[in-house]
């Protein structure tokens, strides 16, 4: 079982940072709402607040790492210029998609939207984390601010969802591949 270096980075970007961020979004929305909107007293608030702060910081780190690896590690491989005379498009995903009318839309709509909308996720979650660091449970007393923060976390979820969906589909139709091969395990012949 082996994987190329480019495929490995795509996995790290999508399944590692991106998917983990998406999974964390629903938890952040629920926990932010519960912690700052609940009228009933909750247990040890200081440890809960500390947990939520660490959770939001981790999400911000995940979101920034996802967009930075996407833009500066994988995207250059995706959009690599086709050398003159090249006939095999397998190493040039953008060119491969654009070579057929049935797949061109995945680039024209999918990648064109993904490459920009994805950045709203780290910007929004960083803002949410900062506001929570500043206000903590006191957000309960700032209804409008709390609503705004929750709306931005929801928008970050949508942005990451769009980017994740198109990322998965792009990788399905034109996977980023090439580079040195990493052997994960040696298969046994049957």
């Amino acid at each position: 079982m082996e994987v190329t270096l480019r495929s490995f980075w795509t996995l790290v970007h999508g399944m590692g940072f991106g998917a983990l961020y998406l999974l964390a979004c629903s938890g952040a929305l629920m926990e932010l709402y519960r912690y700052t909107a609940s009228s009933t007293p909750i247990g040890d608030t200081s440890s809960e607040e500390k947990f939520l702060k660490i959770y939001l910081i981790t999400m911000a780190v995940l979101a920034w790492t996802a967009v930075l690896t996407g833009a500066y590690v994988i995207y250059p491989w995706y959009r690599a210029a086709l050398p003159a005379g090249a006939k095999d498009l397998a190493l040039f995903p953008q060119r491969l998609l654009m070579s057929s009318p049935s797949t061109a839309g995945w680039h024209a709509l999918g990648m064109e939207w993904k490459e920009h909308i994805a950045w709203f996720a780290p910007i929004s979650i960083t803002m949410a984390a900062f506001v929570f660091f500043k206000y903590g449970r006191d957000l309960k007393n700032h209804r409008q601010l709390r609503a705004g923060v929750l709306a931005f976390v929801a928008a970050s979820f949508v942005s990451a969802g769009v980017a994740g969906f198109f990322g998965a589909m792009l990788d399905k139709y034109a996977p980023v591949q090439g580079g040195p091969t990493i052997v994960l395990s040696k298969g046994e012949s049957k």
């Binding site: 709509l109 920009h116 709203f120 910007i123 803002m127 609503a147 709306a151 931005f152």
Partner: protein, 92 residues
């Protein structure tokens, strides 16, 4: 929150500008392997952080009407999302 929305809008506007003008596209090409996306996002992040700093200095110790800021911020964020959607960009 408002600065995050302004930064997001800056990203959408820069992406459109780069799409429509070759000169802007070339100017935004900060890192050749990534292309204009590198400039679009770097400038947008700079706009976001600068706006954040300015707003913090101006409003940091003042009481502001959150309802209006919320409405404007969420409106700008939704507009930013729409302005990055290729079918919308193509109609501009």
């Amino acid at each position: 929150m408002l600065s995050a929305a302004i930064g997001s809008l800056a990203l959408a506007i820069l992406a459109i500008a780069g799409n429509k003008s070759l000169a802007i596209k070339n100017t935004l090409n900060f890192y050749k392997p990534t292309g204009p996306l590198s400039g679009v996002t770097t400038v947008a992040i700079f706009v976001w952080l600068l706006t954040w700093l300015i707003l913090d200095r101006r409003w940091g110790k003042r009481s502001v009407t959150m309802r209006r800021i919320n409405t404007v911020s969420i409106g700008l964020l939704v507009l930013s999302i729409l302005l990055t959607f290729p079918p919308v960009v193509d109609r501009l």
